[in-house]
Symmetry: D2
Subunit: 285 residues, 4 copies
C-alpha cells in the first residue's frame, strides 16, 4: 500500500541539496516524487524545499525516516519536518462575537476544502453554540475576565490535550493570549487581523484606516507570537474602497477579506505548505 508524505526543509544554501534529497528518497524508499518545490532567500543565504512523495516501502514511518535521514540532515544543517497524509489534524477554533469567519470555515470543512477534524469551538460568548451544535462540534463557553484569565487558559489547554489539538485558529477572537499560552503552541496558532499589516496594528484598524484615508483596506492572517500582530505573515489581501464607503462599509468589505485570508492560511497549514523562518513564511502553494 502506498503512503504519501510531505518533507519540509530549510537550511543554509549550498551546492548539491536538491540532488542529495532526490537521491535519498529514491535510494531509501524507491519514492515517487509527486511534487518538489524549492526557494532561496538570497539575502539570508537560506534554502527551502518542500517535497511530496509516495512510497510503497512499508518500513517508511516517522521513526525510521528520522533514523536514516539524520546523517544527511546534519551534513546540510537542515531544519526539517516530515508529515504523513494520515492521520488528519485536530483543530480548535476560538471565536468571540463575530461569527462570519467561523461560519466560513465550517462551510469550507463541509465542502471538503479543509483536510482536518474540526474538534472544538471555544468562545468567551454563547452565541456560537447553535452553529457548533448544528455542525456536531463540541462547544465550550469559557468567559474571560482579567481575574480568571490564567484559569480560563488552563481550562482551554486541558481541552486541547483531551482532543489532541494540533492547530488553534483564532477566528476573530477578541482576547489577547498570554505569553505562556503562545509559547506552548509555536506555529500552531493562526490569527486573522483586520488590516494590511504592518499598517494599523492594534485595536479598531478599520477606524484607523478610515481616518487615514487609505484607498485600499486589507486583512492579514499570521502565526501568533508573543509580540501582538507581529508574527510571521501567512497571507494578505486587499480590496478597493471609495468615498462612498463609510465605516460600516469598510467593516462589511473587510469581512470578505478576513474570510479569504484566514481560510487560505488554515488550508495551507493543514496541507503542510507553510515553512516559517526569520519571522517570515514561505508558502508552497
Amino acid at each position: 500500500m502506498s503512503k504519501t508524505a510531505v518533507l519540509l526543509i530549510d537550511c543554509p544554501d549550498r551546492k548539491g541539496i536538491v540532488a542529495a534529497i532526490a537521491n535519498f528518497l529514491v535510494r531509501e524508499y524507491d519514492a515517487n516524487i509527486l511534487n518538489a518545490d524549492q526557494h532561496q532567500d538570497v539575502e539570508l543565504g537560506l534554502f527551502f524545499m518542500r517535497v511530496e512523495f509516495a512510497t510503497q516501502n512499508p518500513a517508511c514511518d516517522e521513526a525510521q525516516f528520522r533514523h536514516v535521514f539524520t546523517p544527511l540532515a546534519e551534513q546540510f544543517r537542515m531544519n526539517w519536518r516530515l508529515t504523513f497524509a494520515t492521520p488528519t489534524r485536530n483543530v480548535a477554533i476560538f471565536v468571540s462575537h463575530y461569527l462570519h469567519c467561523l461560519a466560513d470555515l465550517l462551510d469550507r470543512r463541509q465542502v471538503g476544502e479543509l483536510n482536518c477534524n474540526l474538534s472544538l469551538i471555544i468562545s468567551n460568548h454563547e452565541n456560537a453554540r447553535a452553529l457548533a451544535n448544528f455542525h456536531g462540534i463540541s462547544f465550550h463557553h469559557i468567559p474571560i475576565t482579567t481575574a480568571n484569565k490564567a484559569q480560563a487558559e488552563h481550562r482551554q489547554r486541558e481541552l486541547f490535550a483531551a482532543h489532541q489539538i494540533n492547530l488553534i485558529v483564532l477566528a476573530r477572537y477578541m482576547q489577547v493570549l498570554s505569553p505562556d499560552f503562545v509559547r506552548a503552541y509555536p506555529q500552531q496558532i493562526i490569527n486573522v487581523h483586520h488590516s494590511f499589516l504592518p499598517a494599523f496594528t492594534g485595536a479598531k484598524p478599520y477606524h484607523a484606516a478610515f481616518a487615514r484615508g487609505v484607498k485600499l483596506i486589507g486583512a492579514t492572517s499570521h502565526y501568533v507570537t508573543e509580540a501582538l500582530d507581529e508574527g510571521p505573515i501567512i497571507e494578505q489581501d486587499v480590496t478597493r474602497i471609495s468615498q462612498n464607503d463609510q465605516l460600516p462599509d469598510l467593516v462589511q468589505k473587510g469581512r470578505d477579506l478576513e474570510r479569504l485570508v484566514l481560510s487560505r492560511a488554515v488550508r495551507w497549514h493543514l496541507n503542510d505548505r507553510i515553512l516559517s523562518y526569520a519571522n517570515k513564511t514561505v508558502i508552497f502553494a
Copy 2:
C-alpha cells in the same frame, strides 16, 4: 460659444444643497449639467460635490461667478473652487536617479492622457537631460547639498514663477522639500511613495517590506504636506509577491505600481477630480 467648467464644493452636510446648486446653475447660466457627483463623510458630517457644467452665457467667468455665487456659498458655509477647461495647467516634474516615472508621464502626455503643458523638468542629477530634450521640455540641473538647499529651492521657485507652474510632480525625487517650500504650494505638489502607506514610511520601504515578509507590496501617491509621507492619499495600488521574489524583484514590480498610482493622481488632479479635506481625499473618478 459654450464653455465648460468644474465646480468643486465641500461644506457641512444639510438639506437642500443639491437642489440649491442645480437651481443656481440653471437660473444664472442656463447651464447644462454634464456630470454631478456627491458624497458625504457621515463621521464628520461633511458634504462634497463635483459639478461639471456647460454654459453659453458669455458673462460667466471666474470673477462674475464669484460675485453671484458668494451669497449661496456663504449660506451653506462652502469651500469651493471653479475651474474652466481652458487654459491648461503648467506642470513641473522633479526627478532624481530613477527615470521610469518621468518616462511614463512623458509617454502618457504624448498619448493624450494628461491634459497639461509639461513645462519644466528639474533634477539634482544630469541623467534626465536627454529625455527632456527629446520631448522638447526645458531641463534644469539643480544639485542639492545641505549647504545650498535654501538657495536651490529659491532657484526652483524662480523657475516656477517664470513658467507659471501650477502643479509640481515629484516623480521619485529623492530630496525632502523644506517646510517653507511645501507651504508655498498647498495641494499643488504630488509625490509617489514606494509603499502602501501608512506602512513603511521613510527610506528604503522595499527593504522594510522584504524584511517584514508581507505578501503584497504597494505604492501611494499623495499631496505633499509638511509631515513627511503623511499628506492626503490620492491613490494606492498593490501587487502580490511570493518567496520567488527577492529584493530586486520587489523593486521591479514596485516600479509598475509607482507608474500607475502617480500617473492616475496627476490625471485626476489635472481634471479637477480631487477634493482634499481632513487630510483625506475624495476622488470623483
Copy 3:
C-alpha cells in the same frame, strides 16, 4: 415620522434633468436628498440617476408619488421606479448539489448584510434541507425531469405567489428555466455563472478554462433572460491561477468568486442600486 425612498430613473439625456428632479423633491416633499448619483451612456445618449431621499411628508406614498411625478416623467420620457425602505423583500433561493453559495448567503443574512426575508429554499435535491431547517427557512424538494418540468415550474410559481416572492436567486441551480418562467419575473432572477462571461458560456466552464490555458478564472452574476448566460451582467470578479492549479483547484478558487459576485449582486438588488438597460447594468454602489 421620516420615510426613506429610492428613486431610479433612466431617460434620454438632456439639459435640466438634475435640477428638475431636485426641485421636484424639495417642492413636493421638502425632501432631504441623502444621496444622488447620476451617469450617462454617451454612446446611447442615455441618462441614469439614483436619488435616495427622506421626507416627513405623510402624503408621500407610491400612489401619490405616481400621481404628482407623472407629468415630469413624461416631459423627460423617463423610465422610473420608486421603492420605500420598507417593507423588506421576500427572496427565494434555488440550489442543486453545491451548497457553498447558499451557505454564504445564509451567513450574510445572519450577519446583517442582506436586507430581506429569506423566505424559501427550493432544490431539485434533498441535501440542502438540514441547512434550511437550521436557519428556519421553508424548504421544498422539487425534483426536475424532462417529463415533469412544466409541472415543477408550476409548483414553484405557486410557492412564489404564496410567499409573495419578489427576488429569485439561482445559487448554482443546475436546471435551465423555461422561457415562460423567465418572462414572468423580469429582472427578478439573479444567476451566478462560473466563468468570466462572455468567455466560457454553457456547461463545464472550469474545464473549458483549464483547457484553454487562461491565467485568470472568473465568475459572473447576471439577471436571467431567455438567452442562456446572456442577460445583463451585474458583477464579475477574477482570480489568478497558475500551472500549480489543477482542475479541482480551479473549482475551489472559483467557489470564492461565485460567493462574492452572487452575494454582491443580491445585496445591490435589495438596496435598489441596480438599473438595467440595453442588456447592461448601471450599479450605483
Copy 4:
C-alpha cells in the same frame, strides 16, 4: 569560469525524473542547482521542469550537453531546451499607430528589466521613427497593402536574418501575419491582444466589451500561431470599469493592461521562463 544555463523539459510524468536530472547535472558537471521548479498537468499526465544551474566545467556547451544528455532524454521521452545566459537575444518590435507599448518596452530596456538587444523596429507607419532614433535602434518603415504583403514579409524576414533576430514582439501591430511567416518563427512571436481572451477575439474588442456591459476589461499576451488570437496564452490581466467609464476610458485603462501583460511576457521569454505545450504555457516565474 562559471557558466549559467537554463534547462527546460517536458515529458510524460513518471517516477524518478527529478532525481535522474539532478544526478545527471551533478555527475556530469558538478553543477550547482540555482533553481529548480517542476509541475504536472494531471489531466494530460505531463511533467514540466525548469532547472537553472551553474557549472565550472569548461566542457559544458550546447553540443557537448546534447551528446551526453540525449540518452537520458530518450529514456524519459523528453522535449528539452538548453539556453546559456550569454549571448543575449536579438529582438525585433513591430508597431503600427499606437506607440504606448513600444515606448514602455524601450523604457524597460533602459531601466534594465529586459535582458536583450532591441535590434530592430519595424512599422507600417512612420510615427515611431523619432522614438527609434532617440533610442538608437534601427527603424524600418514597411507599408503593407493587400498587393505588397508577400513582398513586405519577405523584406521583414531579410531584416530578421541580417540582425539574427530570435524574438519578434507585436506591440499593437495591426496587421495579420501570413501563415508562412508565423510557421517560420514558432514560439518566437509574442502578440498582445486587447481583451481577456477567449472573450472578444478579433477587431475592436473594447467596443465589444463596452457593448456587452462587462465589469472588468482585460488584455492578453500570447504566442502567435496560425489561428488568430488562439495561440498559447502567456499572461493576462484585468481592471475594473464602471458606468463612469465610456469607450475612451476603456481604451485608456486598457493601455495600462497592454503595457503590463506584454512586457511581462517578453521578460519571461527572455529569461527562459516559459514552456509551451498543448496550446498552453507553463510560467516558471
